[in-house]
């Protein structure tokens, strides 16, 4: 039953751009899909108690390395994106390995990763001669407009299909993790590191695996976002604001259910856009007021998130405990 619903929904979403051509709603959908992927990438770590405030940094690494290698080295994003993902993986290992080795957990891990997003933000700002600093940066447009080589497309339909594919891939990765041994190991570690270690779980290695995977996915999303918007600035792709936003969307949607981050992305983006359209510039700031208040009340009253609390009422499957 649920499987049929899932297939129908997927096919309907896939067919959408072929029958519907309005640019603005498609743009919103593309944004929701890309950010859903970002939040999913964050949540595969977050749901095991590894709360990172450093993912804004990985997003920035992905976006800036891809854009810079395109502009300066004339390297196609087909190579630039893997390069940026490699860089993100290297940074993840550099930060993650000592953290996990030295048992830096909880508050300390969150604040240490906070330093990472702050570093990326400051580096981008400090190298303003190359990166444009806080004014933002634009990858050069390819002469012909749309081009597979430059990964730049003028029409929204193509981008919708790309974002849709990436989003599905994100869900599949999450699904694969949920079925893997890695999940059991990480759940054991989240419960009690010492006990897990005594039971033969290689704590450092397992944590590192999920961290690198999450970082690489986030960097990929950053690069994709850059290719889609053709404009990035330190505020939109790095720094603490973005990192907190990821946490917010994932928690509100539901950290422990696969579609939770997607629901979170839909809620946040639709909220921002609705406020922007109905109130114009008078709405600046209001979206974040609502975010903040909602985040606090969710953590107090509904820590499972919206989808995480609703789903168990519709399905017989037991929800995973927080």
């Amino acid at each position: 039953m649920t499987r049929t619903v899932r297939w129908i929904a997927a096919v309907a979403l896939l067919a959408l751009p072929f029958v519907y051509h309005e640019a603005y709603p498609l743009h919103i959908l593309v944004l929701i899909l890309i950010w859903s992927f970002v939040y999913t990438s964050w949540s595969i770590m977050g749901c095991f108690g590894l709360v990172s405030f450093g993912h804004g940094g990985f997003l920035g690494i992905g976006a800036y390395i891809t854009a810079l290698s395109w502009n300066y080295l004339h390297l196609t994003p087909w190579l630039g994106i893997p390069l940026s993902m490699l860089a993100a993986a290297a940074v993840a290992v550099l930060i993650g390995y000592p953290c996990f080795r030295l048992r830096i957990t909880g508050h300390y891990f969150a604040l240490l990763t906070l330093a990472l997003s702050a570093i990326v933000l400051q580096v981008v700002t400090a190298t303003r001669d190359i990166t444009g600093g806080s004014l933002g940066y634009t990858p050069e447009r390819y002469q012909g407009g749309s081009s597979i080589y430059a990964l730049q497309f003028l029409d929204k339909q193509t981008w919708y299909l790309i974002a849709f594919g990436v989003w599905i891939a994100g869900l599949l990765i999450r699904y694969a993790i949920d079925r893997s041994m890695l999940r059991y190991a990480l759940e054991a570690i989240a419960e009690d590191e010492d006990a897990a270690s005594a039971a033969g779980v290689h704590v450092t290695a397992e944590k590192l695996k999920i961290t690198v995977l999450s970082a690489v996915m986030t960097a990929f999303a950053g690069a994709l976002y850059c290719q889609y918007q053709l404009f990035i600035s330190p505020d939109t792709v790095s720094g603490i604001g973005v990192s907190l936003q990821m946490v917010f969307a994932a928690v509100v949607g539901g950290l422990y259910v696969p579609l939770g981050p997607t629901v979170g992305a839909a809620i946040t983006i639709l909220l921002t856009e609705t406020l922007r359209i109905s109130f114009g510039t008078a709405a600046i700031g209001w979206d974040n007021i609502v975010y903040g208040a909602v985040l606090v009340s969710f953590i107090i009253f509904l820590p499972q998130g919206l989808l995480g609390s609703l789903l168990p009422r519709f399905t017989a499957a037991p929800a995973r405990a927080a």
């Binding site: 709360v51 508050h107 240490l112 702050a118 570093i119 700031g285 007021i289 903040g292 985040l295």
Partner: protein, 290 residues
């Protein structure tokens, strides 16, 4: 005979010490709250931002004398700290610590954008231009000197309170053992509220001093928020002496690399040193190996 180069270096060193005083004050309130309640206020810098707006409106719009405005501001931010504790932290005390971190992150969003909506994004300042002291060819900002002195005074006052008073003893006791103290007849809820009041008041004190050096805008918290957390973590969360040492270390790194490179590179270096030191001493600079 000092060369011109050395004068600049010496000036940077001295400015680093003064900046360190401000950082130490920033870290103090956060460390106290963490040490006692075991909660990190991610929105700590935003409390300071509100305090700075309070100072701005009292001084510029209502022409309240500076010292009186400062007293009102310290008390006001102290009350905000209590509100934060009662509304957000108290319901979450029994839950995983990361929830409290995230909830105060929500408060950060809320306060930042509430300030944007209420006050707009204009940069505002008090319009006080404190003189710059000149001594043996070096220029020292009077505002920083004042901040340094007030930071020291605040720390001594806090130390005296914790060391001498009955409530202070209870606060220290709770920081040492959270489970036992309720059995000894200490009302933990009351102590937590008092701690939040002091933590908030220290944020208020910091805001009175920072408003002399920085323009107020809703995102001003982001300029010194991260560095405050790093200082607390590097010093060992809850360890006030460690925080003190870390504050001066950071301030010197920023000040000296700011002399040779840009200010942003100073921050980059400080963050990098932080990451390296964290790996060398994961429990903080002054932690004893157990």
């Amino acid at each position: 005979m000092l060369g011109i180069f050395d004068i600049y270096l010496f000036e940077a060193l001295l400015n680093g010490v003064l900046l360190g005083g401000v950082f130490a004050l920033l870290a103090l309130g956060l460390n106290l709250v963490f040490g006692v309640i075991d909660v990190v206020w991610i929105c700590y810098a935003e409390l300071i931002m509100l305090g700075m707006y309070g100072m701005y409106f009292l001084y510029v719009a209502y022409h309240v004398p500076f010292l009186l405005a400062a007293v009102v501001c310290v008390a006001g931010v102290g009350v905000l700290g209590v509100l934060l504790h009662i509304v957000v932290i108290q319901p979450l005390l029994g839950t995983p610590p990361i929830n409290q971190l995230l909830a105060t992150g929500g408060v950060l969003f809320f306060l930042q954008s509430a300030a944007t909506v209420m006050f707009g994004i204009d940069f505002r300042n008090l319009g006080i231009r404190l003189p710059v002291l000149e001594a043996v060819g070096m220029y020292i900002s009077y505002a920083r000197l004042l901040a340094f002195a007030a930071a020291l005074a605040g720390m001594v006052a806090l130390y005296q309170f914790l060391a001498r008073s009955y409530t202070g003893a209870a606060i220290r006791a709770i920081a040492q053992d959270r489970q036992i103290m309720p059995l000894m007849g200490v009302d933990t809820r009351r102590i937590y509220v008092i701690t939040s009041l002091i933590g908030g008041a220290l944020a208020g004190l910091a805001s009175c001093l920072l408003v002399l050096q920085y323009d107020v805008q809703p995102f001003v918290g982001l300029t010194f928020g991260p560095i405050t957390f790093l200082i607390c973590v590097l010093g060992g969360l809850g360890n006030m002496i460690g925080g003190f040492v870390a504050a001066f270390l950071f301030a010197e790194i920023i000040s000296i690399s700011g002399l040779y490179l840009d200010l942003e590179w100073g921050y980059v270096f400080a963050f990098a040193v932080f990451v390296v030191l964290m790996f060398a001493r994961p429990q903080g600079l002054l932690a004893r190996r157990s």
